[in-house]
């Protein structure tokens, strides 16, 4: 199984969910899919389906209405799964810290593995976050085996 887990890091399929962001980081995530940054280099494609996703790119501070939806999606993702909070509002809710309808960060709702700072998080930072998350994959897989 170790081999398969290693292979897994070469094929991270993406689910992107916007939980109330300003779109800035979402655009940068889309930029990752496009020629200039092209995450398919790392095997990443936007599967946009939780059942077939490995790595969740979550943006936004999680609004009240998105909270349950985010949890719903998270639970549909098969293990091992990685969550990347993209941008400041996803990591800390900062730009919206005075807003009354947000949960202030993704980690209030689901466990987050990597926090990408930036408002907007620039594509390079997102790639770094993506690669960083992949480095956690084998660890996660092993932990799952042992459970």
């Amino acid at each position: 199984m170790g081999l398969l887990d290693k292979i897994g890091t070469k094929s991270p399929w993406i689910l992107h969910f916007d939980t109330g962001s300003c779109n800035g980081c979402d655009l940068e995530i889309w930029a990752l899919l496009t020629p200039k940054y092209d995450v398919e280099r790392f095997g990443g494609i936007n599967r946009a389906n939780p059942k077939q996703a490995d790595i969740l790119l979550i943006t936004g501070p999680v609004t009240m209405r998105c909270e349950d939806r985010l949890r719903n999606l998270y639970e549909q993702v098969p293990e091992p799964k990685l969550v990347v909070a993209c941008g400041n509002c996803a990591s800390t809710g900062a730009p919206f810290h005075n807003c009354y309808n947000v949960c202030q960060g993704v980690d209030k709702v689901i466990p987050v593995d990597v926090y990408v700072p930036g408002c907007a998080a620039c594509p390079e930072a997102l790639i770094d976050g993506f690669v960083r998350a992949l480095s956690l994959w084998e660890d996660k897989a092993r932990r799952r085996e042992s459970e």
């Binding site: 916007d18 300003c22 998105c66 005075n98 807003c99």
Partner: protein, 358 residues
Amino acid sequence: MKRPTTIPIGPQHPAFLEPLNIGLELEEERVVGATLNLGYNHRGMEYALALDYKKTQYLVERVCGICSNHHSAAYCQTMEDIYDIEVPVRAKVIRTIMMECQRITSHLLALGHTAETMGYENLFMQCFRERELAMRLVNEISGNRVHYSINVIGGIKRDMDAGMERHTANVMRELRPLLEDLRDVFARDNTLVKRMKDVGVLTNEQARDWCTVGPVARASGLPQDIREDGFAAYDMIDLKPVVRDEGDCYARTMVRMDECLHSIDLIEECLKLLDEGPVIMTVKGHPTGEGLSRVEAPRGELLYHVKAIGGLQLDRIKIRTPAFLNVPSVQAMLPGSRLADVPLITVSVDPCICCTDR
């Protein structure tokens, strides 16, 4: 007996960048009922922005990352209106340049997104490839790809130097043939035209009824472009609003495409208008009074209405975003369309939920 199929599209769906939900009722893949559900992106910004009008000039960009600059420009204009000051010409021109740059990035996004909803992945990629040029340019001018943080009350805080002006002109020259190629594809590609023509028709009457603005209204034959009112530097340049009257997805797409090209014209004109001069003037005291200001954001008329009562906190800041008016109009277009066209129609109004919900 034929029962309808119910299918929730969104809030997470590959066709949409943002969380919105359409509860579809289908008969035979034909839409018989569509309920649009919003509010997934409601953060409560109108409350938060009213807390400190100075911080607001930065935070207001976070209403929407696609037309962030238009938001801060509109906000600053409103505040300048309340202070009753006239910003320096150079600031106005640079604001205009930034707004038009952002229009290009926003429209290319919308165009790429439209292509993407029709499964035209290559065209999506091309749109985004060209968009990167504009993104790079705004990054060079303002220091950030998304949130320029360049508008402040009283003017702009980062000037362009001569080198940057030349560079901008070069980029525009580089961009024009690329966009013209794209226009060619959008206008003439058989499969695209087949998918977009006569799909999602919004008649002139409906466009008025749903109070649509911007490209959506202009594609339905409503000649409505707030830039004609001449805010910022628009009274100094030769603006030709793009209006079509088919009202279908094709018209909306082509309006955006043509506006992209027109934006290049406008930017080039603006560059010629750049004279030496200050770009900012200081304002004194806390604002008092009521102001209303509009700009033409990529998606249409963006309206700010502020009531200030002297002090850091504002009494009310009302942001009437264009998408707030445009997005609901899909409810007029969806019934009777095919399931395959639902993403296309929805995306053709260029939905921006973050500013619809705020």
